[in-house]
Amino acid sequence: MRKHIWYYLVFITVELSCLFAVMSVSSDLILKRAIVCFMAVFYIVWAILHHWLHHSLSKKIVIEYVLIGLLGVVVVLFFIG
């Protein structure tokens, strides 16, 4: 777990920054959607890089992250419209 701490710190920092960005542009739906999409894309890229750097990347893993990222976007957009 300790060797992964920096990856998680980067991930949490970027995602929390996005949350603050969402709060500050809370009235603009297009920006909201764009930020949600960015959060999902960052999540997928970050996770793939994480696995690649630890030599544990496979096609199956890439698909799983893409599906979870896509699911996140679809669920949030389902709520905000």
Partner: protein
């Protein structure tokens, strides 16, 4: 019964039958959930647009309730209650209409029109004037509570300078989101218009020439001071015609409340996935099973952030 139990275990727990990964986390299941939500989203949107009385936004905001809750707060703070003023209600109505027509969420319109234009346009000669805005709330109490929680809005609501108030409550699409907009215009009239004898009022005015003081709640608690000896004269936008009386209320009770329904479904699914991922991680850790899958912790963190996002999106906003 045994079959059902086996099926639930197959769906939710890692075991031999699902290759030691809960079935709901398999690629085909995740893809199915994505497709299901795309389908549900379009169905909800269609039903909402076609039958808003079935799937709509449940709301109960009236000017009378807003006035009552505002005056409660004022009286708790030893201030005289505000009275409803038709001209300020007219101004608030014009402002709300202008915001929807020009698609902006701000005190000052993109074309430079200030709140004071609407107040003057409604025939209200003010000595003090202020404006509070709210959107995305469904009850009057929630609106007043949100304003009271913000220092600058609170200052406006609890200012002894104001004697009258007007509210507008309108529904429409603002910056891409269907919303309930609440506009509150606060003011006290220029002495020349008040019921008090003009001579007596002139004596208590701080300057020989009355200067309007205008306040806008901003994050820096900035007070826009008097800008000239005469009330501000912004570039007049196209005239807005408004009816003479203002029914400031939005009361709707659809069969299903879309925001709370979609929020419950979205958060429910995200929590369900987090629980399955946690159970999966615990069982696999205990059994020391090696497998090639993504890190559960990554998914859990991402899904928790999405839950926070949905909660943030569901809140109303004030300005």
């Amino acid at each position: 019964m045994k079959k059902l139990q086996h099926f639930i275990h197959h769906l939710l727990f890692p075991r031999e039958s699902n290759n030691h990964r809960p079935k709901v986390l398999h690629h085909d299941s995740l893809f199915f959930v994505v497709a299901l939500f795309v389908f549900l989203g379009s169905v909800f949107s269609t039903v909402h647009n076609t039958y808003p009385q079935v799937l709509g936004i449940s709301a109960n905001i009236t000017a009378q309730d807003l006035l009552t809750f505002t005056n409660q707060k004022r009286q708790e703070n030893g201030l005289v209650p505000l009275t409803l003023n038709d001209q300020l209600a007219n101004a608030a109505d014009q402002k709300a209409t202008h915001m929807f027509a020009n698609n902006y969420w701000a005190h000052i319109a993109p074309d430079g029109t200030t709140p004071w234009y609407f107040i003057k346009n409604a025939g209200y000669e003010y000595l003090y004037a202020g404006e509070n805005l709210a959107r995305g709330f469904t009850t009057a109490q929630a609106v007043v509570d949100a304003w009271m929680a913000s220092p600058t809005h609170r200052e406006n609501m609890l200012s002894a300078n104001y004697q009258e108030v007007g509210f507008a409550i309108q529904t429409g699409t603002l910056t891409g989101t269907e919303t309930i907009l609440v506009v509150e215009e606060l003011g006290s009239r220029y002495a020349g218009q008040s019921d008090v004898a003009p001579a007596a009022v002139t004596e208590v005015l701080p300057t020989s020439t009355p200067v309007p003081t205008i306040q806008i709640p901003t994050p820096t608690q900035q007070v826009l001071p008097s800008v000239s000896a005469t009330p501000p004269q912004p570039t007049p936008p196209p005239a807005i015609t408004t009816p003479p009386s203002f029914v400031a209320a939005v009361v709707s009770e659809p069969l299903f409340n879309k925001p709370s329904m979609t929020r419950t479904i979205a958060i429910g699914l995200l929590v369900f996935l987090i629980v399955v991922l946690i159970i999966d991680a615990i069982i696999i850790e205990r059994k020391k099973i090696a497998r090639i899958v993504a890190h559960n912790l990554d998914h859990i963190l991402f899904l928790i952030i999405l839950i926070i996002l949905v909660i943030i999106f569901g809140k109303g906003h004030i300005l």
